[in-house]
C-alpha cells in the first residue's frame, strides 16, 4: 500500500463532507474557495466575482452527492462554477471582460522597485487584454492561476487537447505582444 497522496486525502475529505460532517465540509470549502473565486474573477471580472463564487460554492456543496468520483472533486467543482459563469455571461451578453481593477499583492520595501513591478504588471495586463477571450481564459487559468490542464479543461468545458493548443497559441501571441528592450 502506497503513501497517501494529496488526492487520496482529498477523496477522503470529500467522502466525509458528503455524509454531512461539518468539519470536512469546512475543510473542503477552505481548499476550494480560492480556485472557484479565481475562476469567477477571470471569467466575470472583479465586480461580480465574489457573489458568483459564493453562489457557485453553494451549488457545489448542495450537489456534492452528484459527484461520482470524490477524487475528481476539483475538475467537477470548477465545471459547476464555470457553467455558472457562462450562464451569467450569456445573460449579460458580455464577451470580453477586461482585467481592469485587478488588485495584486502590495509591494513592500523599495518604492522604486515597486514602481518598476507595477509598470511590468501594467505591460503584461495590456498584453493579456489584447488576446481573444478564448485564448485569454486559458492563459489566465493555466499560467496566471496555475490550474492544471485537466482543471482548466473542466472549468472552460473544453477538451484537454484544446486547452493545450490554445495555451501555446496564447503564449506565442503574448511573445509578440510584449515589446522587448533586449541588448543581445
Amino acid at each position: 500500500m502506497g503513501v497517501p497522496t494529496e488526492m487520496t486525502a482529498l477523496g477522503d475529505i470529500v467522502a466525509r463532507a458528503r455524509t454531512g460532517e461539518r468539519k470536512a465540509q469546512e475543510e473542503l470549502l477552505e481548499r476550494s474557495r480560492q480556485r472557484v473565486f479565481a475562476l469567477c474573477f477571470h471569467l466575470l471580472g472583479p465586480s461580480d466575482a465574489e457573489e458568483a463564487a459564493q453562489e457557485a460554492l453553494l451549488k457545489i456543496f448542495l450537489r456534492l452527492e452528484d459527484l461520482r468520483d470524490p477524487e475528481a472533486f476539483f475538475p467537477w467543482a470548477l465545471r459547476v462554477a464555470g457553467n455558472l459563469c457562462r450562464d451569467s455571461l450569456r445573460r449579460r451578453a458580455v464577451a470580453a471582460i477586461p482585467l481592469d481593477g485587478v488588485e495584486v499583492a502590495a509591494d513592500c520595501g523599495d518604492p522604486e522597485a515597486a514602481a518598476v513591478a507595477s509598470d511590468q504588471r501594467e505591460r503584461l495586463r495590456l498584453a493579456v487584454d489584447r488576446l481573444s477571450p478564448a485564448l485569454r481564459d486559458v492563459l489566465l487559468l493555466r499560467d496566471v492561476e496555475g490550474l492544471s490542464t485537466e482543471d482548466t479543461a473542466a472549468a472552460l468545458d473544453l477538451p484537454a487537447g484544446t486547452v493545450k493548443s490554445r495555451l501555446f497559441e496564447a503564449r506565442k501571441k503574448m511573445r509578440n505582444l510584449l515589446p522587448r528592450e533586449i541588448t543581445a
Binding site: Q54, V102, E145, R175, L178
Partner: protein
C-alpha cells in the same frame, strides 16, 4: 524558416519544461537566449495578475442549511419530462406533415383525374362520347 525562428516558435512549449533541441540551441545562440530569458521572466511576472484572495464567504453555512432544507428538484423526472415533451412535439410535427402530404396528394389527384372517371356521387356530370 531559419533555425532561430524555429526555436523561437517553440519557446511557448519550453515554458512547460526542458526541451533538448531548444536547450541545445539556446546554449549557443545569445539572441535566442536573451529572448528566452525575457519571455520566461514575463511568465513569472504574469503570476502578479492572479486573482486577489477571496474574502471569507458571508454566512455560508447558514445559507447552505437554508438552501439544503428546500426540496431539491427531481432532476431525473425533469429529464424524463423534457424527453416526453420532445417526443410529443416530434410526433405532432410528424402527424402534421403526414396529414399535409395526404391532403396535398388528394387535392392533386382530384385536380388531375379525367372527367369521365368521376362518379355522379361527386356531383359531376358524366357524359359519354360515342363514336359516330
Amino acid at each position: 524558416m531559419t533555425e532561430c525562428e524555429r526555436i523561437l516558435e517553440r519557446l511557448a512549449e519550453r515554458l512547460d519544461g526542458p526541451l533538448e533541441e531548444v536547450d541545445r540551441h539556446l546554449a549557443v545562440c545569445p539572441a535566442c537566449r536573451a529572448e528566452w530569458q525575457a519571455l520566461s521572466q514575463d511568465f513569472v511576472d504574469l503570476r502578479g495578475l492572479k486573482a486577489p484572495p477571496m474574502p471569507p464567504p458571508d454566512c455560508f453555512w447558514l445559507r447552505y442549511e437554508l438552501a439544503a432544507e428546500r426540496p431539491r428538484p427531481d432532476l431525473a423526472w425533469e429529464r424524463r419530462s423534457r424527453t416526453l415533451q420532445r417526443g410529443l412535439a416530434a410526433a405532432a410535427v410528424a402527424l402534421m406533415l403526414t396529414a399535409g402530404t395526404l391532403l396535398g396528394w388528394c387535392a392533386l389527384s382530384a385536380a388531375t383525374r379525367p372527367l369521365q372517371e368521376l362518379t355522379p356521387g361527386h356531383g359531376a356530370v358524366v357524359t359519354e362520347v360515342k363514336p359516330r
